[in-house]
Subunit: 206 residues, 4 copies
């Protein structure tokens, strides 16, 4: 998932200081089972601003810095796709002088269902090491949340995704065996916190 | 003027490789007289991508690299202003570890005229030094062009602009004595080339 | 303190992948008393790479991203100062399109004492919020450590330091009232962990 | 060739404002024949600062922006190689969210000859388009120059160089068929200008 965000706290003052409110990110969502129920999790995520990196860690997203670019819509001019069949949207991610991912989505029509692979609830790991020693101070599974979800019309179409090989992370182990559909939409939500569902560190000490 | 661009050549292939099509820039437009006629010129401009910097030099914009951020519109979510009275848009520019400019526009209503201070034609200087020696190989005044102009609705409102003092450029010499109105709109156009109106280097040799 | 670092784990493999081993940082050291004993603490620190930012948080340095530049020594050519009287070293820090600090040190002679203001032990705060709610999961005072310290000859001289006003942090509250001396040296050390001396969060719950 | 530079004009004031004096670059040197004599030329070069990019264009180096990292020497600490047999130096270059090159040199001994493949004089192309139309205003072959060359001891050893395939430039067409030796040294020089040896644009008009 490539995302191009603008965020703010309740007052919204960051919005007129846009270096503190805008960021882009690329993240990978993996499907899995948790106690027999379908779930998703985010093993890798790259972001291009520090405030978003820090907020991600607190919420259980293991964010690292990267360079991320995505085709945008504009309301005037010829140098932007429109939301119409055949429109192409591209995106790239690089980090540590290595390329990480490249994606192209070619729109076909408005989607009836939207993306479904990331429908199951997302569970991530919050982790913060101790001042010294091997046992972390925080090591827990959390369920991602959010409220006041607001979404634009969703378009879908064919998609190409390439995860590169020469990365620090083992992306080939989780690379998709089959690429289904690509989707393009705008989305907004509010996050207050996440819900702890298991504390690994207490289990370690048991 | 702060601008957040996406550009492409005729084929448009850069649009799906967005690191080659997007850039942001901040530039200063100065009003002057040329042979008694009103004109504008761009003495300073900062941009955040190399392809836009190179293209600018060819067209007579003396572009340097900078970090530029601007509040954006999004079609969903609470963390974006809408085009409505009271909406605030901010922008900042920094370069060489120095801050250059900060601006805030607070929208009031749709504008009937749009910005007028940059109505007069823009004349800039194309300059390229010689392989050695003092006399440049290219040193000419050009009139900026462009066709197929496409513009969204224009909003106007009150504006604050601060040009910082500790910059490499002497911005205080051209700082506005009075801040009139601020404007927010989307704009697209096509550039084929610029028109040479005077060759300084030939005059020098005369 | 401006610092230009190269770091590695025991094996040293990051050293041949230098985007993962080099970073620059600027930090402010404040002197204070802890139970009547002289101490130092680092309230603000900016760094230019993510791995150093993350490592800092674990050790109690509240690192944010910034752009940092420092004059360097080179072993050939005219475009570098030498370690000699009159040599000038400059440094700048910017973050979020704002300039943060600018420093110049003009060398006079080899220093007998080196810098002394940061002689007292450094105590910092490790902080990691909870998944939800106001009470943090980690909130403790730690004493910074390090072993195998290795230092080059130290030069000292006159110094100018400017902390800018238009920053997100209140730097004026801790700006130096008097600038004493500036120092220039190389330094290396090994960090295994830091020592916890107080847990604020347990005290809060008492 | 990977290079980590600090540069200044005669006065040297940029040296205490290091964001204007430091840059890193990666460039490719190709050997060829010019009128039967051995020559070299630089078809591709990436640099990480704008002032170096502009200066390069004036001298005939077709510089583009990139992210470049190189292992450095430091005079203290364990996290730096020393100039000794077995020491390893790495370097990487990326641009436009693509990786361009990766190199590792493992030192063996002080070199008697230094690198010889770039001994022949370097000829590059200065090019600056016209305000409009196809025929460039500047299009000439220049011989690179420089005086007051100052060089440290040169170490040599085995080398690995990888030029990546998924780049905007056709690097595979000029990729080395055989990797000979790698070299590590410091170098400084002064450039006043370059010498024009042929003007393509006049030949075109003939």
């Amino acid at each position: 998932v490539f995302a191009d965000w603008q965020s703010s706290t309740d007052g919204g003052d960051e919005l007129v200081d846009p270096s503190r409110s805008q960021y882009k990110e690329f993240f990978i969502v993996v499907n899995a089972l948790l106690d027999g129920e379908e779930m998703t999790t985010c093993p890798y995520i790259w972001v291009d601003r520090d405030f978003a990196l820090a907020r991600g860690w607190i919420q259980g997203f293991p964010k690292k810095l990267g360079s991320i670019h995505m085709t945008r819509l504009f309301s005037a001019g010829q140098a932007a796709p429109r939301l119409e069949p055949g429109a192409r949207f591209g995106a790239t991610c690089a980090a540590n002088d290595r390329q990480v991912a490249r994606m192209v989505v070619t729109l076909e029509h408005v989607s009836e269902t939207g993306p479904t692979v990331n429908d199951p609830p997302m569970y991530n790991t919050r982790h913060f090491p101790a001042a010294s020693g091997e046992r972390p101070d925080v090591f827990e599974m959390v369920r991602a949340g959010g409220r006041d979800r607001d979404m634009s019309e969703i378009w879908e179409g064919s998609a190409e995704l390439h995860l590169y090989e020469d990365t620090l992370e083992d992306l080939q182990a989780i690379a998709p065996r089959e690429t289904l559909r690509g989707y393009r939409f705008s989305f907004g939500y509010t996050v207050d916190g996440v819900t702890v569902v298991a504390r690994h560190r207490e289990e370690v000490t048991a």
